[in-house]
């Protein structure tokens, strides 16, 4: 039987799984996190349509959950791969969830009684969750997970759970899956802004990253969609975005452009300006790369709204008792500006997923010098890895925005389907 294994359930992996399953090919969708959805589930709106990210992603997540030919394996990672094209054997390690997946109804009674609060990875560290939790309200599968590292064994959840789904003991499980072909869609990692210490992320409270901002302006995020200064909890009167943080940077060994940060900053600037017309919003950039369909028009719209595009980069963020200080040269006029914004947003770039080197070794595929997956040809074959039968989609190949990730998920699906189909007809 020709199965396909899709590793990584962000938007690219979800799209690939749906397309393959639409041909009647059984798909196993492997996800490390307790929910599918990837980074896209964390975002507020998406450019250039200003669609709510979750509103367009969630129906696809539900389609995946309901599809008779798709099996979701959350909290799971690939341990090893044997065989070759047409007859792969993929060993999966499933981490314990401490929940009976078949009986949990996702009602959330346990979450209400849990007394422990910890930082929520899903909120990029600015919000909290319980020790028994759902990463977010639209999690798929719609069940909870218990975090044994923070659980204090108070026992409240065991008592409150109607179906008795909360487990005291749980263990790692191993699963071996047959696959005709494999799609790798493991996504990206967000640049750690602390690697640019001159910008003071996590030492200056009013310096946040673009992902933290996304969670803040998201209506279902930790601040209920209100933009806040971390120092005072008040709404800032002025914001400066700094572009290319961790992108196009030779000393950091990250020479590539991250493709999304310009548009993401423009999008967030528009959303903020529309809600707070009096707020002073500036984007410090070196080049605005608004290259996609409808993107340049979007950029023009931002300018018309009164968002200031300042061509020049600060080299650091200083602070005194009056607040932040940024020295910037307007490179179009040579004028020096001393700016004192109340909030600074670092537009952090994309890098290869931290787990990628290890995965590449297990998969027997090659990586590029940048750490992203090497494909057969950078122009003509961007989905085949160097190992036949293993395809790659989304930001595992290179930084990509959502439309491009979806397209590459579709194209990897076509390749993976071909292998599975050949096996079935043989």
């Amino acid at each position: 039987m020709g199965n396909v294994v899709v590793v990584g359930a962000g938007i690219a992996g979800i799209q690939a799984a749906l397309d393959i399953a639409a041909h009647g090919i059984p798909v196993h969708l492997i996800e490390r996190e307790p929910t599918i959805g990837g980074h896209m589930a964390m975002l507020d709106k998406t450019f250039p349509t200003n669609d709510c990210s979750m509103c367009i992603l969630s129906p696809k997540m539900v389609d995946v959950a309901r599809h008779p030919d798709i099996t979701i394996h959350t909290c799971s990672e690939v341990e090893k791969i044997a065989g070759g094209i047409g007859h792969f054997r993929v060993t999966i390690k499933k981490h314990p969830r401490y929940i009976d997946e078949s009986t949990c109804t996702g009602c959330g009674d346990c979450i209400l009684v849990c007394p422990v609060e910890v930082y929520n990875h899903f909120d990029a560290g600015i919000g909290v969750r319980k020790a028994i939790y759902k990463p977010h309200s639209q999690a798929v599968p719609d069940i909870v997970i218990k975090d044994p590292d923070h659980c204090i064994e108070c026992g409240l959840c065991y008592d409150v759970c109607g179906p008795g789904s909360v487990k005291r003991e749980d263990s790692e499980q191993e699963l071996v899956l047959d696959a005709a072909s494999i799609v790798l869609s493991t996504g990206y990692s967000v640049f750690d802004a602390q690697k640019k210490p001159q910008f003071g992320h996590l030492s200056l409270p009013d310096v946040v990253t673009s992902l933290e901002l996304e969670r803040m302006i998201n209506a279902s995020g930790p601040t209920g969609g209100k933009i806040r200064r971390m120092s005072t909890g008040k709404t800032p009167e002025s914001i400066v975005f700094i572009q290319c943080v961790g992108s196009r940077d030779m000393p950091l060994g990250r020479p590539y452009c991250s493709c999304v940060c310009c548009m993401q900053a423009i999008k967030n600037a528009i959303l903020i300006k529309e809600k707070n017309p009096a707020m002073d919003v500036t984007i410090c950039y070196m080049d605005i790369r608004s290259y996609g369909k409808g993107y340049e028009e979007y950029y023009e719209r931002a300018k018309a709204l009164g968002i200031r595009f300042l061509r020049g980069m600060p080299s650091d963020i200083l602070a005194d008792k009056n607040g932040l200080i940024l020295q910037v040269e307007n490179s179009e006029t040579s004028e020096i500006l001393m700016m004192h914004p109340e909030l600074v947003v670092l537009s952090v770039g994309m890098g290869p997923a931290e787990s990628l080197p290890d995965l590449a070794r297990r998969f027997g595929i090659a990586l590029e010098e940048t750490g992203f997956v090497r494909t057969m040809h950078d122009a003509l074959d961007t989905t085949s890895t160097l190992r036949p039968g293993i395809y790659v989609a989304g930001t595992a190949v290179a930084p990509k925005d959502i439309p491009d990730s979806v397209a590459s998920g579709e194209s990897a699906a076509m390749r993976a389907f071909r292998d599975a189909f050949r096996l079935r007809s043989a």
Partner: protein, 193 residues
Amino acid sequence: MARTKGYPEALEKKLHDQRYYREDSNPEFTTKVKGISRTIAHMCYQCGTCTGSCPSAPRSTYRIRNFMRRAVLGLENEALTDPDLWLCTTCYSCTDRCPRDIAPTDVIMAMRNLAFKRDIIPVNFLKTVTAIYSSGHGVPNNDVNRAAREKLGLTRDPPTTHMYPEYLPAIRKIIDHYKLKANADRIIKEREG
């Protein structure tokens, strides 16, 4: 070359030159700056991070980014005759921060070298040469400093040519080898009589 669209000849010449078409551009200047500075000025993408880090910028019209542009475009005269060339403090902040791994400070030093070859140099820089020639120090010790040093429990003079004047001739030999003192004296005399 076939004439296109009836452009005037001069414009056509400009358009044909893919490199850069300002009349005063000298490609050799770019090469020379690169040779002396040993840095990759042509990789500059004009982000302005260097000016963002520069302590001289908010206090003057000096813009290091602008000099990087001149290095790339070969604008020799514009770079070497701009008095701002001498406002770099050589703090190396820009070199630390440039995302292209360029050393803008070294580009400035290379340009100063080239300017000096054309006798373009402010007199105070030449007086530094004279000071080093006579004392081994750009800023020689003085009585105020000596008193301060004594208070801190240090020797009145630092363990340099001030304490060991017998090493001065060697320093002078190096300076003389490059005719630095002779040129400095000549230019100071020309300017100050």
